[in-house]
Symmetry: C2
Amino acid sequence: MKKHIVGIDIGGTKLATVVADENANILYKTRKPTLAEKGPDYAIQLLFDMVDETVAAAGLKQEAISAIGVSCGGPLDTKTGVVYSPPNLPGWDALPLKARLEAEFQIPTTIENDANASALAEWRFGGGRGYDIVLYMTMSTGIGGGLVVNGQIYHGANDSAGEVGHQILLPDGPRCGCGKRGCLEALCAGPAIARRAQEAVQKSPKTALLKLTDGDARAIKSEHVLAAARDGDALALQLIEETAYYMGWGIANLLNILNPDIVLIGTIAMAAGDLLLQPIRETVAKMAMARPVDAAQIMPAQLGENLGDMAALALVV
Amino acid sequence: MKKHIVGIDIGGTKLATVVADENANILYKTRKPTLAEKGPDYAIQLLFDMVDETVAAAGLKQEAISAIGVSCGGPLDTKTGVVYSPPNLPGWDALPLKARLEAEFQIPTTIENDANASALAEWRFGGGRGYDIVLYMTMSTGIGGGLVVNGQIYHGANDSAGEVGHQILLPDGPRCGCGKRGCLEALCAGPAIARRAQEAVQKSPKTALLKLTDGDARAIKSEHVLAAARDGDALALQLIEETAYYMGWGIANLLNILNPDIVLIGTIAMAAGDLLLQPIRETVAKMAMARPVDAAQIMPAQLGENLGDMAALALVV
């Protein structure tokens, strides 16, 4: 009986494969370094081997697998299954990932960009359960997003919808990884929080922030800002306030445009909780229209360590 | 045979009713002033009479009408058919518009906010024909919007999606009708263009703009700015450039979030054509990500004078 599924999570630093039953209960998991510098052929051969190994370790034969779901950094084309040069996967240029996997395993394979797959996983298994319109936002080294409408990912015209982190708030603001200036991501992602903190400590050398890094301003990361803010450090609290202001502004715009039932925010917001989310909610209430504010909860995402696995499985469960 | 349809277009200044065949070819049309100050009961009784009159004038009996579509200023609830205090219809507070019409005519009635209904009409009859994802933007006294995905209006959680004119670009910018500051609408709608022009002529008294209004700065409207720009007036061209910059910035954000196949812009963009649209496209290409820019055309809307009628009919055709 074909009722098991395989999930593949492809990241720039690690590859993971999982085998799960028809309810997405994970039976076995394998994880290996991507070694992205070795290029796509190395990683894909490694994935072939990992899938074989994971299926066998789960006590199954390949015939028991009905579908493979793949969560991968975009851009990619979900219809053709071709990956177009994701920033974290050098050399994956116009790579026919779906075709390569289907040729190897003869199993129907669905590929999806990681932010969209994560949004679907939050809707299916996490904080978005029971909601019709779920906006999921990543908030870690970058800010990405995915919109799930009545259980379906909203892809847009060419699978590039949901780039919520690249809405521009300050056209003369800090440079973003995408090459533009003042994107939400350049103001609120982890590295942006760290950069602002590193600059701010120059003027406030007494901040607890510097104690957390033994006086090394350059070693300050967003985690240190959260920790110092929790201890009541004034500078760290001000950095959190600034971050919440820009996040709130960006989310207010998203509420006016998308009118979701719930906004779920990942990593940094999960770690920070209401310390960050409460000022975000207050800014959103000031900057968005009343009706979309009434409709939308703003909450931390729920899937933590297993997000990548559940994202891949959500595509085929 | 029930195969004709009725469209009702409710605006703050005029009411229109049309009868059309099953292909939305209009057979007869009636138009009367709303006299909004007389309140909803007056307007609704007037609509009842206008529908009767229009159906009779088309040589039909009421039994020939299969459905009524109503395009009305929002906010409103499309499921319950209740209208919630549109700014241009004083006294229409929690008004059960759908129920009132269905009680009178015993004909299934669909109500929709005018921007969404217009978006559907552009998809069905206008510039959006053949496209999967159509973003329509009004650009006249306000800036509104509607998103049509595979022929369906995207409503959001409580019918307030598509408020694209209230994305905030400049939080310290000019006051918007919605009460916030620096919304796209407060920078680019007709009154905003006029306001900027009225301010600018103080410093450039030689502009052709003032000639168009016999020297009266306060009489300058967005139409005058377009006319003077077409004649090469430097100040008017600069005002167009500014408008295109903010519109382009706002649309760039929308492309990153929604990834449409086409963006159709109404009234002012239809009047201005490439004079406004070309610099908008150039700004969008600079400020949005490459993939959504590749996917999206940015064009004037196509339905002009008949937009309100076609919007109402599109809901039930």
